[in-house]
Point group: none
Chain length 193, copies 4
Amino acid sequence: MKTNKPKYKQIIDAAVIVIAENGYHQAQVSKIAKQAGVADGTIYLYFKNKEDILISLFREKMGNFIDKIDEEIAGKQTAAEKLLVMIESHYKILSSDHQLAIVTQLELRQSNKELRLKINEVLKGYLKLIDRIIEHGMNTGEFRQDTEVRLVRQMIFGTIDETVTTWVMNEEKYDLVAQAPAVQQLLINGMGA
Amino acid sequence: MKTNKPKYKQIIDAAVIVIAENGYHQAQVSKIAKQAGVADGTIYLYFKNKEDILISLFREKMGNFIDKIDEEIAGKQTAAEKLLVMIESHYKILSSDHQLAIVTQLELRQSNKELRLKINEVLKGYLKLIDRIIEHGMNTGEFRQDTEVRLVRQMIFGTIDETVTTWVMNEEKYDLVAQAPAVQQLLINGMGA
Amino acid sequence: MKTNKPKYKQIIDAAVIVIAENGYHQAQVSKIAKQAGVADGTIYLYFKNKEDILISLFREKMGNFIDKIDEEIAGKQTAAEKLLVMIESHYKILSSDHQLAIVTQLELRQSNKELRLKINEVLKGYLKLIDRIIEHGMNTGEFRQDTEVRLVRQMIFGTIDETVTTWVMNEEKYDLVAQAPAVQQLLINGMGA
Amino acid sequence: MKTNKPKYKQIIDAAVIVIAENGYHQAQVSKIAKQAGVADGTIYLYFKNKEDILISLFREKMGNFIDKIDEEIAGKQTAAEKLLVMIESHYKILSSDHQLAIVTQLELRQSNKELRLKINEVLKGYLKLIDRIIEHGMNTGEFRQDTEVRLVRQMIFGTIDETVTTWVMNEEKYDLVAQAPAVQQLLINGMGA
DNA sequence: TATGAATGAGTCTTCATTCAT
DNA sequence: TATGAATGAAGACTCATTCAT
């Protein structure tokens, strides 16, 4: 496997594949190296240690994630539209990248607390993005003024995360993206009659 | 440590303590045995293997969990009341058992996919409980008829789970139970104005 | 290989054999375990880590060493006699244990500074024994009063050590014990006419 | 670091510094290259392999060592004087080069048996120098005729080496050169009254 | 029932050396 | 001559599980 891709990204992509196919605890460095088409030692020219591969993987992918969603949202006026686009984009990205979905929703969560704390640091960028939408909606009067941003953020993130995880666990049998509008409606209007 | 508690429960309680204090990956069988006051080998007279301890732990604790909530809910008439009581009970139980909160929200999630699938089996009992509330609300006309039960269930569970996890990660600095009514309101009425 | 020897000593003896036959840097824990007739993991029930095997080895063997020499010396009256007996005993012990000689004179000296410092701690017991002979000789008037004990001690130890090391490096071709009297004479009377 | 020094010596001097500062086992080729201001690969244009650097280092430094001592000795008449000058010179050289003292007395001794055998080859030049002094003393009648040259040589070398090693291990707290006459006296007259 | 000594499979990381440029 | 990115072999240690007592 010879590509022109810089080795750094080459190794991260290999890690995604290996973790998705073998599971977190069976993703040995030697497997990742083989998949990347480099020697074991080469990994350590680009990453400090194994944990560094994983946190870099998450940072890289989640960075793209946030950037893409940010772009999509920018063109929308209302908070409701922004919310819908965010949910749709989130669903689309993971729907189109089966392996990434498995890795982020199932496998990477098996990592130890230390790594998970670092992952949470990266996630904060996403939570801030949610916060901006909420605040926009409160400013435009779309959303209630008396809600706590933290709770709303947790409802939004918790709902999206749970819907994706269930979908991945059910082997992605149904159309995730198609349910985005329903989820948006639920978040905005609640389940009440 | 000598108690009259049957060794089975004694070992499960020891596992909760050891996992809470040392973390999932540092919770060796020998540590659990020591904490339980039995020999390593004795563990294997009561459990098939280490995974069996953990799944039993979850089944035992979650069983109590569901039973308690079920009781509380029974006395309430409206779905809205039932939902509030469920959220409150959920928050109360974990607020009053620091170690259990850490174990279920953070540590046990580091387990491998196989164990997590078994844990999900146990969780289904809780999800059914949620479903019953939703269906009750749809029957009484409190909740919309056109919602998909699955999505609503995922929103409710995702929101509760996310609020608890964040609270545990923030070292339980604030009053979780106190925010139950706000969460219930959000779920029923959404964030919209 | 099943013996009644307690495993601790069994492992140390295995380590001497493996190091003597393979050299310090080729003495893997797995080789020592195999030689001792135990599983790799068993080693770690008796020793903290690999370094602990080596320092224990040295402590155990050097302890015997000093004890034996101490006994032999006790029966002698003059410092000159004690010195002769010490040199002879030292030579005899290493002459009769080919593997121990190789391990202590050549192999263990390749260990890192940390281990060597610990080995030096053990050696202090031997140096004290030398000091006691010197002080005895100064008290009886056999040895000069105006000599520095430290220098004399270094001359005695340096000479014994160098003679043994050279003998081991020359594959023990000549009779080491036979030259004990000549060495003693040199130390007491010097090389001067 | 740019010098006009030929790279060969430049690399050897870098090796002394790196070994003295980091210890034998932490003296990687890449560190030596960096210290020398050359690329890793350049090392291999001047040395066959890492061992070759070390043996060259020892040969180079020990060659200077012997040459200097030879010069100093030449001007002295008696064997006793020559011996004193040799000890003094030996002590002076190492006293004035802290790093060289650490490298030769402590660090280089951690090398494997193969390298140590080659080092011993180099040391033979020094041992011959000692032999010449002994023989000179026997010819002039200063030293006893009935002593074995080999034993005397081992006493002299062992004593000098032990005194220097102890001094280095004690972090060179005292004046090594000042004790040269006492050491010479001990070697010639022994410790006897 | 209860014990606890013994087992042994499995992996991340380092670093001397090469070779295309 | 000089570079430095890439190589890949090699080993200490942990811990779930067993089984003789």
